[in-house]
């Protein structure tokens, strides 16, 4: 009944919604895209610098250097989240701070901190994946589908 597709909108409601749409400010899409591009790009560039550093100074090979790099980014993100900086930065950066691994870390850390007051098990434990959970579920599922396609068509993933 309340489904978006089936709910009937009366002419008065339609008229009002048109009025409201005219008045409400639009999301600044272009500005948001530009900021997301710059911030997201900068985070990735920073990641690349880290990776090169691990390769150059600690003699990791290219595939293995990814692990400490991601760990560093996650650590920085969690620290910034804990100090209450990340959400303010994200309001400015938008998708630029949400898409890279730092955004994923923030979604878990923020939920973990928020629900600490309800205890370790029922609070932090069960709510930590509140936001990140769907990323994992659908990420794993799409990986499964892609894997299946590779298997059926005999594509060599290596």
């Amino acid at each position: 009944m309340a489904n978006k597709n089936t709910r009937k909108i009366t002419p008065t409601q339609k008229e009002y919604q048109d009025l409201a749409k005219r008045i409400e400010p639009k999301r600044p899409v272009f500005k948001n895209c530009l900021r997301a591009f710059l911030v997201g790009g900068s985070i990735c560039l920073f990641g690349q610098v880290l990776q090169e550093m691990f390769m150059h100074y600690f003699h990791f090979d290219q595939s293995k250097a990814g692990n400490p790099t991601v760990a560093c980014l996650i650590f920085i993100s969690v620290v910034l989240t804990s100090f209450g900086v990340y959400d303010k930065f994200a309001q400015w950066a938008g998708a630029g701070s949400a898409v890279p691994v730092t955004g994923f870390a923030n979604s878990m850390a923020s939920a973990a901190i928020e629900y600490r007051s309800e205890g370790l098990v029922l609070g932090t434990g069960s709510n930590m994946f509140k936001l990140a959970g769907s990323v994992i579920v659908f990420g794993t599922f799409s990986a499964f589908v892609v894997g299946l396609i590779y298997l059926i068509f005999g594509i060599d993933a290596g």
């Binding site: 409201a20 008045i23 923030n106 007051s117």
Partner: protein
């Protein structure tokens, strides 16, 4: 009773004491001087956001009783509510007070809903002193209705910032202070808005509906009021309300029409998007700022129309649109009551 849904209080219940307690963001706002207590710490030194909100409300209640010059034993009823599930901040405060308690929920309209009920009880002779109080906290609201507070999600320009604070008022059958002369109870209006980040647009029609009903029931014009304020329509809802008044031929420009959500913050400097919201928005602005202006004689007849969006996280996730309501209370300068 006048018209369809307006109570006229012929015994003129008096607001004998009020108190407002707010958090840091409100303390940085333009109304800082009008609040009784400003906390610099959103946590108030408590272990959880919910405990902090409970503390805000308890402080406001305690101070309101003090300002009214009565003890809690003299309170016949406590009418109140808040935004949290099962209105726990209010119930926990009622536990501390241990006075007869009527818990109400009208989302952000709870402030005037409880004040109207308090006035009704006193007017009908059902009580001598009734305490009306409400609270909201930015972080508890974020946690319950949106995302964890530290989660980095970008809010659209239509989003509103829940006021951290609490407001309380003691309504008595006699005493010194402004009197409550009438109240109009709102009906639920739903124009099919589904975006919880656009509450102003959802609530504006409810506010306009209640204001029109109030004027019709009492056969008054906007010019009969020195000021009409809505609770928390903020930038978007306020603009829409103006447009609706024009469409319905209500000469709102004859009075001073404003919105508490626009008054409580400096929208240019503070990170609050469209403006303030929450039970405490209308409560702190009315009890703190507006009643002080009345006491100074700048306003004589004030209509406060608190607006509420009666949604839950569950209903909007299930695609339900946002049902909204608004309750109006008319407050006038009038010396001593009967």
């Amino acid at each position: 009773m006048a018209g369809h849904r307006t109570w006229v209080f012929e015994n003129r219940p008096v607001i004998v004491g009020t108190a407002t307690v707010v958090g840091p963001e409100e303390g940085n706002g333009p109304l800082a001087n009008d609040f009784d207590i400003i906390h610099g710490d959103k946590m108030l030194g408590q272990k959880s956001w919910e405990k902090a909100e409970h503390m805000l409300l308890e402080e406001a209640v305690k101070l309101a009783l003090e300002n009214a010059g009565i003890t809690k034993e003299q309170v016949n009823y406590y009418v109140g509510g808040d935004l949290l599930n099962q209105i726990t901040s209010s119930s926990l405060t009622a536990r501390t007070l241990s006075v007869p308690y009527i818990g109400v929920f009208g989302a952000c309209s709870t402030s005037m809903e409880s004040l109207a009920l308090a006035a009704f009880l006193v007017n009908a002779g059902g009580a001598k002193h009734v305490l009306s109080a409400t609270s909201s906290h930015n972080s508890t609201a974020e946690k319950q209705f949106r995302y964890p507070t530290e989660y980095g999600s970008q809010k659209p320009p239509t989003a509103q910032y829940t006021v951290t604070g609490a407001g309380a008022a003691v309504v008595a059958s006699s005493g010194n202070g402004p009197v409550i002369t009438s109240a109009t109870i709102g009906r639920v209006v739903d124009m099919g808005i589904t975006d919880p980040f656009n509450m102003g647009a959802a609530m504006a029609p409810a506010a306009v509906d209640t204001i029109q009903a109030h004027l019709r029931d009492l056969n008054r014009q906007p010019s009969d009021y020195d000021m009409i304020v809505t609770g928390d329509l903020a930038t978007v809802g306020y603009q829409i309300a103006l447009e609706l008044f024009r469409k319905h031929n209500v000469p709102i420009e004859d009075t001073h029409y404003d919105d508490c959500g626009l008054m409580v913050y400096d929208l240019k400097k503070q990170p609050v998007q469209a403006g303030g919201s929450g039970c405490a928005c209308s409560a702190t602005v009315t009890y703190g700022h507006l009643l002080k202006r009345m006491a100074r004689g700048e306003l004589n007849r004030l209509l406060v129309v608190a607006t509420g969006a009666l949604l839950s996280p569950l209903t909007y996730q299930q695609g339900e649109s946002i049902p909204c309501i608004a309750h109006a209370v008319c407050i006038e300068n009038g010396g001593t009551g009967a």
